[in-house]
């Protein structure tokens, strides 16, 4: 059989794109073996491009049962041997091994980052039989034909072993922490209560939960204090304008009242008018964090959702590699070529043409750099298929941001007129746009609100039309949302751009937090409490930051994997010893927390009949059937109950019915679309629907 060069990629979509780009006719042959697709392409030689399925290998316990700790002996093994859900990785590894046996050369073409380098390395080492030392590396930031061809023609002579070592260490340290601490918590709870519940914590999860708990504590123990402000309007040239009082807040009500009394119905004079021009610089290019923040604020997409969408756009060669920390766009990406390609789309034509008319294109850039990839930018390719709505939005946002960074600053004019009324000063403010600059490129994602004032001059008379005192209270600090939490993690330097979004989802998945504006659950509090009491180092931000720093140093050859691992084990040993010694107390605390959480999960809302009890999902002792009942039944106060569907899962929908304001339940049944159920038998919406059905029947 003819020998070929085996190119290993990270995902099937990337394999297809690479094969298509490298095949001299752009038509590689797709072969499928046991459900594993791979591609045969012809160029100067035969190329076989085979995809992985993300990580095919993972860290596992060398030997032993799953129900004890501490465990410090580990090895890298196929994922199917450790994870039930990863069965298909077995055939994947078998096919790659078979293809490797006939290959003469090897090229790794996985994403050029920590995870991608590790995926390629483990496949070449374990599935291909120690070929990691003879493998070349394709390095690219987009899956465009041009860049892939260049990466293939001039590959790096070897794998980036420093990056691989850093990746391996990260996985191994995370495994050491995750497995040991999660087992310690889970086993402590199980040994105390006899019931199993998955509890987890980790090197990054713990400190992240700590941020949330700290904020939640502030909110829950917050006591507002009163303050007062003035709301006032003046009449200028027959129009009414809102004006600000010189002092924004008052500590004492009487002082605010005195201002109202003195100025009510009075006429004043414009003392001074200040006109200022100021520039607003274009935004900087997107790194992953900035993109996630922007999509959350504009479209309410969670960081993980944005990351997944951006990854899909990358695999379709529409944008560059999204998991980047860079805020820089080097000239090598060829700005002009991208803009020319983008101008093929009608909606970008005029904007791109404006930029292309310039002699020089220079982007505004941020400070952050990433040695592996530039900031996120559009490749200039247009979609080959109809993108779905979220994909369209994210792509358009990336395109417009890319164009905006090359544009000029926006110029705004602000006017501040100082009005004196009976010894008090009020400010009338106006603003207008003089030159849109970059904002015209970034529409509709930026809005400049203008307040246009009539022509006014100093000495002119102005009459107070309305002046009232406003009673206000200080507010608690805002809750984190997935986006602001991600920013906090980034600022504190914990986790990586690839893992932060997943950590947040894990916190939701474990039931430690709930809702979009993040609320820490009782279980979350208790977990943080236990960790804080018995192993504070695990949730210490500083400790995690130090470990992150050491792992980053491996990437730059300034630290050794072995030292970091030994250090991690030495840190863990006393923590685990303490956890074991106090297992009973921890088990009790956690079991109680789990019990409370399980009860909480079953609570649907307030009882509409007795008003004091809570409606809860209960099970009949006789028939074991489930129903909704009031908690006051146990106090012999209320006997309200409602039937529930007996199949599928039922939980609180966390919202009320629009027709009757009763709490709704969410029903999920296999093979059916989940639905919201209002269990109020006389809900007006049900009545309406019934009438409608009857009318249709007639």
């Amino acid at each position: 059989m003819e020998k070929y060069t085996l190119i290993v990629t990270e995902k099937p979509d990337a394999a297809q794109r690479i094969a298509k780009a490298l095949d001299s006719h752009g038509e590689p042959e797709k072969i499928e073996e046991n459900g594993v697709p791979y591609f045969r392409a012809h160029r100067d030689q035969t190329l076989v491009v085979v995809p992985a399925l993300g990580h095919l290998y993972t860290v596992v316990h060398t030997r032993g049962r799953r129900n004890y700790y501490p465990v410090f002996n580990f090895k890298w093994a196929p994922r199917y041997s450790a994870e039930r859900k990863a069965k298909q990785t077995r055939t994947w590894i078998e096919v790659i091994s078979k293809l490797a046996s006939n290959a003469k050369n090897f090229i790794a073409a996985c994403d050029y980052d920590l995870e991608g380098s590790l995926i390629g390395y483990s496949i070449l080492k374990y599935a291909c039989g120690n070929k990691e030392g003879v493998t070349k590396r394709m390095k690219f930031s987009t899956l465009t034909k041009n860049e892939l061809e260049k990466a293939y023609e001039k590959p790096l002579p070897s794998l980036n072993f420093a990056l691989i070592e850093a990746g391996r260490t990260r996985h191994e340290v995370d495994w050491l922490y995750g497995v040991n601490l999660s087992r310690a918590l889970t086993l402590a709870a199980k040994r105390w209560s006899g019931r199993y519940a998955t509890l987890s914590t980790g090197r990054v999860q713990g400190p992240t939960l700590k941020f949330l708990v700290r904020r939640e504590r502030e909110i829950r123990s917050f006591v507002p204090t009163p303050y007062w402000s003035i709301r006032s309007e003046v009449e200028v040239k027959n129009s009414i304008y809102e004006v600000e009082y010189e002092k924004t807040t008052f500590d004492q009500k009487a002082n605010a009242d005195s201002v109202v009394k003195t100025c009510k119905g009075k006429t004043g004079e414009i003392e001074t008018i200040e006109v200022r021009k100021h520039q607003q610089k274009p935004p900087i290019p997107f790194d992953l964090g900035k993109l996630q923040t922007e999509t959350y604020s504009l479209f309410r997409y969670t960081p993980r959702r944005t990351s997944n969408i951006a990854q899909r756009l990358y695999l379709e060669a529409l944008v560059s590699y999204p998991r980047t920390s860079s805020q820089k766009l080097p000239p090598t990406i060829d700005y002009r070529a991208i803009l020319k390609k983008l101008s093929r789309k009608t909606s970008y034509r005029k904007l791109a043409a404006t930029l292309l008319r310039r002699d020089e294109l220079k982007p505004v850039e941020g400070k952050k750099e990433d040695p592996a990839h530039p900031a996120i930018y559009p490749t200039g390719n247009l979609p080959e298929r109809e993108l779905n709505d979220p994909e369209k939005k994210v792509w358009d946002l990336i395109v417009r941001r890319f164009m905006a960074v090359f544009s000029e600053p926006a110029i705004k004019q602000s006017i501040k007129a100082c009005i004196a009324i009976n010894g008090h000063r009020f400010y009338l403010r106006g603003r207008r746009m003089l030159k849109e600059g970059w904002m015209s490129f970034y529409k509709p994602y930026i809005r400049a609100e203008e307040v246009l004032l009539p022509a006014i001059k100093e000495g002119e008379n102005v009459s107070m039309k309305q002046i009232v005192r406003e009673d206000k209270f200080t507010k608690p600090p805002p809750r984190f949302n997935p986006s602001s939490l991600l920013q906090k993690m980034e600022k504190e330097g914990i986790g990586t751009k690839a893992t932060r979004a997943d950590i947040i989802e894990t916190l939701y998945g474990r039931g430690y937090v709930a809702e979009e504006r993040i609320v820490v659950t009782e279980l979350g509090f208790d977990i943080a409490d236990v960790l804080g009491k018995y192993c504070p180092r695990v949730i210490s931000v500083k400790f995690t930051q130090e470990l992150e720093k050491k792992m980053e140093n491996i990437q730059t050859n300034n630290e050794k994997r072995f030292n970091v691992l030994v250090d991690a084990v030495n840190q863990l040993k006393p923590i685990l010893k303490e956890l074991k010694e106090r297992e009973q107390a921890i088990g009790q605390a956690l079991s109680e927390a789990i019990k409370k959480a399980r009860i909480q999960e079953r609570i649907i809302g307030n009882c509409p009949d007795c008003k004091t009890g809570r409606l809860m999902i209960l099970y009949s002792r006789k028939s074991r059937k489930r129903f909704i009942g009031c908690t006051n039944y146990f106090k012999s106060i209320c006997t309200t109950s409602f039937p529930l569907p007996q199949r599928g899962t039922v939980k609180s929908a966390q919202q009320n019915c629009k027709g009757c304001e009763w709490p709704l339940v969410f029903v999920r049944l296999k093979g059916r679309r989940p639905w919201m159920l209002c269990f109020n038998p006389v809900c007006p919406l049900k009545e309406e629907r019934k009438k409608r059905d009857e009318m249709q029947g007639m």
Binding site: R217, S221, F222, V223, T225, P476
Partner: protein, 70 residues
């Protein structure tokens, strides 16, 4: 000793969580007094009804109000 509000472990009247809320209630009373000369009882009633008061602070304020009534 158990917390008077939530029955968690407590060193004094309240657990660690409710104690923080209690300290806040005591501290902010000075601000309220300066601002609008309310009595302690009026203050507690105000913060129980206020939408921005945290749940633990409300729990403690309600407990303090019940104590006052006794």
């Amino acid at each position: 000793m158990k917390c008077k509000v939530c029955e968690r472990e407590a060193e004094n009247t309240y657990c660690e969580l409710h104690n923080k809320a209690y300290r806040n209630i005591l501290r902010e009373y000075d601000v309220w007094k300066r601002a609008s000369s309310v009595s302690w009882k009026e203050y507690l009633s105000e913060i129980v009804q206020n939408q921005y008061t945290g749940v633990w602070a409300k729990d403690v304020a309600e407990h303090l109000m019940k104590d006052e009534e006794k």
